[in-house]
């Protein structure tokens, strides 16, 4: 038996970062205390998730489950559950948060606030990936939003306020729709059964009139689509990613975008199977539009960060395409691709941050010849760019090929078109690589190559890129059972402790 099973380990995953965040604030007078607290907290959380991953990834059903009454008057419960999918997502979150802390090691001003906000975001994201009660989910969903708003708005680049407000309004508009929908779902379920509850396990049994189901699904969908983001509600993303501080971009691209996809998988599809299945072709069209449209726009960008931001939209298009294909291989590919994208794009954003620190510009036209000045950094940059454009053997390829293989078996045309998007990916990525690495060196002041701390960030990322590219089964096996259950339309395996 798991020695940790007596601990409320899921709550620990959520509230430990919050405690760390408060610690950062309380220990403000101590110089540099906050960064060590942040590193320690994220490290502990990562160790926990890693431990869970190693011990629990082969098990079936809910690996961990917590359920307590919370606001019983409205049937709101504090229900947390972790299956293979949540496990993978929490692992990714915990890992990227360490990266985020390390790359903002020398952040200024207000490092204590910065790190406590980072930890607050971790708390929110963990909550989103673990909650099984809709109100709890919504709560964490909003908790994620607010610290990110401040991260962008306070520590961002030149147009940070515009970007922060845009990000906030887009996401909030979507999530308010979701709030409306979940309340009406709650009322509907209560009227039907007399059991007023926000528990996901209860609500999936609601009989929704088809017309209303479309509206409710649409509201959930908009909330998630904004987060993913799908064309045409993606325009917050380039601004937010570009203006955010490096850690913010890493978290945004690496994790926050995945919460949208996760929401669709965990809530959107199980709650509204009818409209969800009927909307798969729409999803596919949006995904394909994203793949091409965003890749096309990415080519025109001058700002390296913005280019990578648009590439995120294109990559998430692949993820959504796998979802739309709706079979085991494609779905597994989608989930794998979420992890892949988190790692590659996280790495690329970190690297642009490092380059920005040295060159004081992110404009491709003003960079160039970096290989001469900082060969090690250049090699890493090339490596991650290749991963991003889907070179086989590196991580993005495995995800993409699973998605494409899965999609082709059911929808050949979608897959064939999406494959065309791969060329587009090569076009913009190579433009970026050429602009940054090749060409004559501009300026002649000497730069320091990769520092130890930066290497500490990049080497694990690079190892993961290779690992995911060569042996993705490690990360695919935990999600197999959740995906199968999802495909069967049954969401909940037997639950220890029982459901309300």
């Amino acid at each position: 038996m798991n020695p940790l099973s007596s601990l409320p380990i899921l709550s620990l995953l959520i509230w430990l970062p919050l405690a760390g965040g408060l610690g950062c604030l309380f220990l403000r007078p101590v110089r540099h205390a906050s960064r060590w607290i942040a590193l320690g907290t994220t490290g502990v959380v990562f160790a926990l998730t890693l431990f869970l991953f190693i011990t629990g990834s082969s098990k079936n059903g809910w690996l961990f489950f917590e359920d307590h009454a919370w606001i019983s008057r409205f049937g709101i419960r504090y229900t947390l559950g972790m299956d293979g999918l949540s496990l993978l997502m929490t692992l990714l979150t915990a890992f990227l948060l360490i990266v985020a802390v390390l790359i903002s090691w020398q952040v200024s001003p207000y490092p204590d606030f910065f790190f406590s906000l980072l930890l607050l975001i971790e708390c929110g994201i963990m909550g989103v990936f673990l909650s099984l009660d809709l109100v709890l989910f919504y709560l964490f969903w909003e908790i994620m939003l607010i610290p990110m708003f401040f991260l962008i708005g306070v520590w961002g680049h030149a147009r940070r306020l515009y970007a922060a407000v845009k990000f906030f309004l887009f996401t909030l508009a979507g999530s308010l729709l979701m709030l409306l929908a979940l309340i009406s779902l709650y009322l509907l379920h209560g009227q039907q059964t007399g059991d007023y509850s926000f528990a996901l396990s209860a609500l999936i049994h609601t009989q929704i009139p088809p017309n209303l189901a479309w509206w409710l699904y649409g509201s959930f969908f908009v909330a998630f689509a904004v987060k993913v983001p799908l064309v045409p509600v993606h325009t917050w993303l380039p601004d937010a990613h570009t203006e955010a501080p490096t850690a913010g971009s890493v978290i945004l691209a690496g994790i926050l975008l995945k919460t949208g996809v996760y929401g669709l998988i965990r809530f959107g599809f199980p709650l509204f199977p009818g409209p969800a299945h009927a909307s798969l072709p729409i999803l596919a069209v949006l995904a394909l539009a994203g793949i091409f449209y965003a890749a096309w726009i990415a080519y025109a960008q001058n700002d390296a960060k913005r280019l990578i931001a648009y590439s995120s939209v294109a990559h998430l298009g692949f993820v959504i395409l796998g979802l739309a294909a709706w079979n085991l291989t494609a779905l597994e590919g989608s989930i794998l691709q979420m992890v892949n994208h988190g790692i590659t794009t996280g790495a690329l954003f970190s690297m642009v941050g490092m380059i920005d620190q040295r060159a004081h510009t992110r404009e491709i036209a003003r960079l160039g010849g970096l290989w001469t000045r900082v060969p090690v950094l250049g090699a890493f940059f090339l490596f991650f760019s290749l991963a991003s454009l889907g070179l086989p053997g590196l991580n993005n390829f495995t995800g993409e090929i699973l998605i494409l293989l899965g999609t082709f078996t059911t929808h050949p045309v979608w897959a064939a078109l999406a494959l065309g998007g791969v060329v587009f990916a090569a076009i913009y990525m190579l433009r970026l690589v050429q602009g940054v690495l090749w060409g004559p060196t501009k300026g002649d002041e000497p730069w320091t190559d990769l520092s130890g701390r930066e290497a500490l960030v990049l080497i694990p990322l690079a190892i993961l890129v290779l690992w995911l590219g060569l042996h993705p089964s490690t990360f695919l096996e935990p999600v197999r059972e959740p995906v199968q259950l999802l495909l069967q339309g049954s969401m909940f395996p037997s639950m220890p402790g029982g459901m309300p």
Partner: protein, 623 residues
């Protein structure tokens, strides 16, 4: 020694490449070079040692499972059969010689570690293509060579032009890769597996139209890598890379990967006669196209690049006629003599102090006889001089086309034969301009490092005499390669009578002689000709680049800007921003309601009271 040792063949170069990637710059130059050469050389030795494993149906080994999801099961598996074994031997052997040559060639470049690492990685990727028994693994190698080619073409990245050439190569081949990828996805859907042996075994159950479509997709994929029409524009530009790279990647190995792919999947490809016809048509037209372009080139490496394209076209032509062994034979001989030619060209360029233009050379025969003889050996093979290897291999392919006897294949034969004439012309043009006459070169001749010449000597011998590998019976041979590769599959054979074979050989000899004569008449004495329009047309590869630029690149860039500025910023953000503006202006207007004067507030309060009163009154009246 277990079968798994076979994996060492590709993994040794990978290991050595990785060593050079990680520690190359910290190692002394000699050690770094030794690692690189050692990796490739040990692969060669290993291939020879393990050769017996390829006997019969070959050896099939699995290392571990790469991808596993649902019905998808992709193991890392290799198949060491006669086809892949012979190709492996050629790749490793030629690579070893080229690596040695590269040590000499790069002796003054400070970035040797990157160069050798990439070269080793390339060999790994190429061997993966060759040995893979799984299409996805093959695709890994396929993209891998694409990347290495990209990085090596742009090796001297400080010049924007070189980096752009690399990028172009990567992108154009990737367009082909997309088609290969679609074929791969489709094959998985049809067969539920990506194993090459499995696909070849089950191919006969497919409907003809699906087969044809598959072959077209595979052909397009192969065209990308092998620089065949219409995806050929990248190869001439790829000459921006260092010469060993051109020799290894753009002559001997990578560009022939397309041919190899078609041969590997020949049991599938051969089932579609339309597909086969298309393959040979593409091959013949490319061969002709490239030969015409080679006639007008001024840069020595570009002449060779176009000749490579042309010779690979021959190989395609051969695959299309069903002569797998013949194509592989030409692939091998071509690899030998073209590598030789490129390395010779590297020596020439080095001698002339990085001068590329053949119009500015001349008279090198007396100045560097060794290089002349080496280059001549390669050139004779290329031009198809009787009894040289190129003569046998090229003749074999043309004979196979002729043997079909249908009007279509006769046309192919005629086109091929005419191309052979052009080949002889441009080869001797090159020889005369570089070595003949008097020197037009201004400046001092540089010395050559030993390592740049002596790897060429064995290569020259192999190139000249590799014809014995598949010597036709009329010359007393046993067609050894044909028998070896019999298992790889071959189309329906159309045996020719000895009389016909002698006739075809005679025609080939005559074409060679005519070509030599024409070149002698025109180029034995250099006359600077004015640039005619036709010459320029051929010089720029029939303006293919300009066409691509006008029809694809310019619209792409334009649309890119349009989508960004027009759609994303103007329309989507515009709509949302106008929504925000609307809210704001509504607020502005509502703002005037708050006059700030107590009296107006009180008045509105009174009016509200009145409304309430009237409402109650109304209720009273109604009730």
């Amino acid at each position: 020694m277990t079968d798994k040792t076979l994996f060492l063949i590709p993994l040794l170069p990978l290991l050595c490449g990785a060593l050079n990637v990680l520690f190359g710059m910290r190692l002394p130059r000699q050690l770094s070079q030794a690692i690189a050469v050692g990796g490739v050389a040990s692969s060669t030795v290993l291939t020879l040692v393990l050769w017996p494993l390829s006997a019969g149906a070959g050896t099939h080994v699995t290392l571990f499972t790469w991808l596993d999801s649902g019905t998808l099961h992709v193991p890392v598996e290799i198949l060491f059969d006669p086809l892949s074994a012979s190709m492996t031997l050629m790749v490793t052997g030629v690579s070893t010689l080229i690596h040695l040559y590269a040590i000499g060639y790069m002796h003054r470049d400070a970035d040797y570690a990157r160069f050798f690492a990439l070269l080793n990685l390339f060999v790994f990727a190429m061997l993966t293509i060759v040995l893979a028994d799984n299409l996805l693994l093959l695709f890994l190698g396929w993209e891998g060579v694409g990347f290495c080619s990209y990085a090596l073409i742009g090796f001297w990245y400080r010049e924007e032009k070189n980096a752009s050439a690399g990028r172009k190569a990567f992108l154009v081949t990737r367009v082909g890769d997309v088609f290969l990828g679609i074929a791969l996805l489709w094959l998985f859907k049809l067969f539920g597996t990506l194993s090459i042996s499995g696909i070849n075994a089950g191919a006969s159950q497919l409907a003809p139209h699906i087969l044809t479509l598959l072959v077209v997709l595979l052909l397009l994929g192969a065209c990308g890598k092998s620089a065949q029409l219409p995806l050929m524009t990248w190869l001439p530009d790829a000459m921006a890379g260092p010469t060993p790279v051109s020799a290894l990647i753009h002559a001997a190995t990578m560009v022939t990967a397309g041919v190899y792919l078609l041969c590997r999947l020949f049991p599938l490809v051969s089932l579609s006669s339309t597909g086969l016809a298309l393959i040979s048509a593409v091959g013949a037209v490319t061969a002709f196209y490239a030969a015409t372009c080679a006639l007008a080139q001024r840069e020595i490496k570009k002449v060779l690049a176009y000749s490579t394209m042309s010779q690979v076209g021959y190989m395609f032509l051969g695959v299309g006629t069903g002569a797998v062994a013949g194509s592989m034979f030409h692939l091998f001989t071509h690899a030998f003599f073209k590598a030789l030619l490129f390395m010779g060209a590297g020596c020439i360029i080095h001698l002339c102090g990085e001068e590329n233009d053949i119009f500015k050379m001349g008279g090198l025969r007396k100045k560097s006889p060794l290089v002349f003889w080496l280059f001549l050996a390669g050139a004779l093979c290329l031009a198809g001089a009787p009894l040289s290897s190129g003569f046998f291999s090229k003749d074999g392919l043309l004979a196979a086309a002729y043997a079909h006897g249908t009007p279509f294949y006769l046309t192919i034969y005629i086109l091929g034969a005419f191309t052979a004439l052009l080949t002889a012309i441009y080869t001797f043009r090159l020889l005369y301009l570089v070595f003949g006459g008097t020197s037009r070169f201004t400046g001092d001749l540089h010395g050559l490092p030993k390592l740049m010449t002596w790897p060429l000597i064995p290569l020259a011998l192999i190139a000249l005499f590799s014809g014995v590998l598949n010597l036709p019976e009329i010359f007393g041979g046993h067609q050894w390669l044909d028998h070896l590769l019999h298992a790889a599959g071959s189309g329906e054979s159309h045996p020719l009578s000895h009389m016909q074979e002698w006739t075809l050989a005679g025609i080939a000899t005559a074409l060679f002689a005519i070509g030599w004569a024409v070149a002698h008449w025109r180029y034995s004495r250099f006359t600077p000709a004015q640039e005619k329009k036709a010459v320029l047309f051929f010089l720029h590869g029939w303006q293919a680049d300009r066409l691509v630029h006008a029809t694809l690149i310019t619209p792409f860039a334009f649309l890119s800007r349009l989508f960004w500025q027009g759609a994303d910023l103007a329309v989507i953000d515009g709509i949302l921003e106008s929504l925000g503006q609307g809210c704001q202006s509504a607020g502005e207007r509502l703002r005037t309601l708050t006059t700030g004067r107590v009296s107006s507030y009180l008045a509105s309060l009174a009016w509200g009271l009145l409304l309430f009163m009237l409402f109650f009154l109304l209720q009273v009246v109604q009730g």
